[in-house]
Amino acid sequence: MGTGGIAAGGAEVINAFRTELEASGIKAAVSENCSMHKVGCRGLCAKDVLVDVIINNNKTTYQYVKPDMVSRIVKEHIKKNTPVSEWVAGEDYHNFHKKQLKVVLSDCGSLDPEDIDAYISGKGYEAARKILTSVKPEDVIGIIKASGLRGRGGAGFPTGVKWEAAMKQSAKQKYMICNADEGDPGAFMDRSVIEGNPHAVIEGMIIGAYSIGADKGYVYIRAEYPLAVDRLRKALSDARTKGFLGKNIFGTKFNFDIKVKLGAGAFVCGEETALIASIEGQRGMPRAKPPFPVYSGLWGKPTVINNVETLANVPYIIRNGAQWFASFGTEKSKGTKVFALTGKIKNSGLIEVPMGIPLREIIYDIGGGPEDGKLLKAVQTGGPSGGCIPADMLDTPVDFESLAKVGSIVGSGGMVVLDEDNCMVNVAQYFLQFTQMESCGKCVPCRIGTKRLLEILDRITKGAGKEGDIELLEKLSSDIKAASLCGLGQTAPNPVLSTIKYFRNEYEAHLQGKCPAAVCKALLTYYILEEFCKGCGACIRACPAKAITGEKKKLHKIDPAVCIKCGACFDVCKFKAVKKE
């Protein structure tokens, strides 16, 4: 179970099973035939809590399980072996998994993340043992290079190349850092990996540290991830007890240990130089590169920083071979990518797909399409640094190059589905609010520039946009991208640019006083349609501003001068007589 499962009531469900099984007097059966594991997240958040009942290798998955359902499952299914068919997960659940390809998440959801022996019994730490005892660092790097693994933290930098640069540094002290700061709104990939399979990340770090010659490591993880932090700490201490961390690992001369450093929740601290400053005890502000961290990183020493998912891929690559990994994905983007699929979509959750899969397959085959039969408008990828891909470009393959070509990015893996009810100016405004708030304040284009972008977007959504505002947004955006110091400022205007590129008409409509998606309050008018109004008076009673008048059974009217656009009448009218435009 991950944080999502627990929030949905997973712990209560487990307790209910425990008591129910005990009370039914099948105690003996519990220890012999059934074992209940707390497993990591398996992705389909929308259907939490999921429970597998396995009887003689026959697996049945239940969805939306609540504690009060447990007693019936135990009585009918576990005792009498007749599954409760109406609660069994249906087609959606199986479709959700069909087009996915799990590498990083392959053990999430089946392994108990708090049990190091469970990981070991599934070949865990074998990759590290093999590497440390029999493979030279340059050959490890050869394997990683051949696999085509690229950084999953956003930029897609080839991992083998990064390791090689650090390996070639002659400094005695080097560092290996895992970046688990994950601060994009709506992203929970790295959190789920650490919650579901922390040992894979640790094993990846051991292999990386060995290749570059680092004896100290850090996991920089945000303090808002308490479950991930707990599981990580437990995993580290278990690994230490087993001798996988510490001195003379696997009887070799190699020493390596990992410290946990908690981040205070600043998005910019995910940027590698800011992250380093933060570990050093300074305010998390990026510095100019070059020099890059592989040459001068933590305390001026060569440092490799890799994303959680990048590192979690490593043990699987070593176990199964570079060719195996390189057989997934496209020519330049190998392997799989984990995405957090959210927004206006039926099956929201955590997914892992082969690179290059068409966006359409993610949205419709895995995600089940938009909710309530609404019209899909766009898919936002890459979080606040990314862009919007319009519905008519859904055949775009999801890989580093193709997404960049259409003005978005893979980024760290956020994927937000937008439908006809989303206003694209409002979407851009939302992301700009975030980046402006999270700008570290160091450099002018980002600190003041994003503020000005936001102000212009604000006035456009309030109906106070001026002629030339769209062009000003474009010019300022491109200047901020060119002149900002770090990746935050260099990408912050992307949501603005990509929404202007594909939805310029929506911007223009706002300048003419209309919000086509009827989202921007200041541009809305509520009115009552004569042909539908039955004069029932429900809206009069609902309106807090007393803006509606009308006699019983006669047409009601909204006074636009008094209306505060709260939408209460719209929600309350049973005859759909209230319109907003």
């Binding site: 100019a288 070059p290 304040g441 002018v444 200047d479």
Partner: protein, 346 residues
């Protein structure tokens, strides 16, 4: 040595030199605001950006070390356009205060706004307004004029070793503050004033005392201690209205609280203007002749009865250096003893 070209000029410089320093060696001008030669590079103002062949985005010359064969172009229409946008952004969040600002005429921001001809601003918007003023005794901190160049933070940390101020908050609301936004309570060395490129940090002592252009500069040596820092007195009419120190001096321009702020006694109305003689336990005003005669008589008598070494002289740092020189000469030559001291030592 590393060989590179800047604006088609070839230059060879030591490894680790920044592109900005190399350009300055060639007398090529690059605008800067956050850079200070004595402080570690910051890279925040983005004005010093240049194009480097083969690098897709502009790089800040103040942070980029030179590399072999590098080809740098310091000014192109695209670069100048970006610089202009950056300046417009800074000025969009800056009070239009030059007319009454202490720093006018000596302000790096004002200078750049002039050279780039920024009058109309496409990017007008909200400005930071701070009501609370810092109540410390020495330094006027007008954070609305602060451009967050970080120089004050760095000098306080790297040169003074104090760390009294730092960046706080995020985004547009970022601000340089003492801990918990309390009133500044530090060494008051004023190093931060010395490096501030704008009117955000000025001395309370020199508020409305006169424009720098209207002062004469007098070089002197500080008498407060034995370090002997070089001072530049800014004199308007016959009054010292401000003290600072040049960077090409023995003390590299750095001063302490006394050297920088300890001059207002010169024109203080509370100063002694007439000698006082203690009579019956009380100080009474006397004429100069009366006082000098009295001193001469007493000193002669003591010297005669007890010898010169029974006399010691102690003088004040608030006298001029010339007066202090004469005083020790007097004690040594006229009295005949080496018993003479001063807080800067003789």
């Amino acid at each position: 040595m590393i060989k590179l070209t800047i604006d088609n000029k070839i230059i060879e410089v030591a490894e680790g030199t920044t592109v900005l320093d190399a350009a300055r060696m060639l007398n090529i001008e690059i605008p800067t605001l956050c850079h200070h030669p004595k402080l570690t590079p910051f890279g925040g103002c983005r004005l010093c950006i240049v194009e480097v062949k083969g690098v897709p985005r502009p790089l800040t010359s103040c942070t980029t070390p030179v590399s072999e064969g590098m080809e740098v172009v310091t000014s192109t229409p695209a670069i100048e356009d970006l610089r202009k946008t950056v300046l417009e952004l800074i000025l969009s969040d800056h009070p239009n205060d030059c007319m009454i600002c202490e720093k006018a005429g000596d302000c790096a921001l004002q200078e750049l706004a002039y050279f780039y001809g920024i009058k109309e601003n496409r990017l007008e918007g909200e400005r930071r307004i701070y009501k609370k003023k810092d109540g410390n005794p020495f330094i006027e901190r007008d954070m609305e004029k602060c451009i967050l160049c970080g120089r004050c933070v760095k000098v306080c940390e790297e040169v003074e070793g104090v760390g009294a101020i730092d960046f706080t908050y995020r985004g547009f609301q970022s601000k340089i503050c003492p801990t918990f936004e309390k009133d500044l309570d530090c060494e008051f060395c004023g190093q931060c004033i010395a490096v501030c490129p704008t009117g955000a940090l000025t001395g309370k002592a020199w508020k409305q005392q006169g424009r720098i252009k209207d002062t004469r500069e007098t070089e002197t040596t500080c008498g407060y201690c034995g370090c002997g820092c070089s001072l530049t007195l800014h004199v308007r009419g016959n009054e010292v209205i401000k003290i600072d120190s040049r960077e090409d001096t023995i003390n590299e321009g750095w001063l302490c609280v006394k050297g920088r702020f300890g001059y207002t006694f010169i024109n203080s109305p509370d100063r002694l203007k007439k000698p006082l003689i203690k009579r019956n336990g009380r100080f009474e005003e006397a004429s100069w002749n009366e006082a000098l005669d009295y001193i001469a008589e007493r000193l002669k008598k003591i010297k005669k009865e007890h010898g010169p070494d029974s006399i010691a002289g102690l003088s004040s740092a608030r006298c001029t250096n010339e007066e202090n020189y004469l005083f020790q000469k007097f004690i040594r030559a006229a009295i005949g003893t080496n018993n003479v001291d001063h807080c800067a030592r003789y």
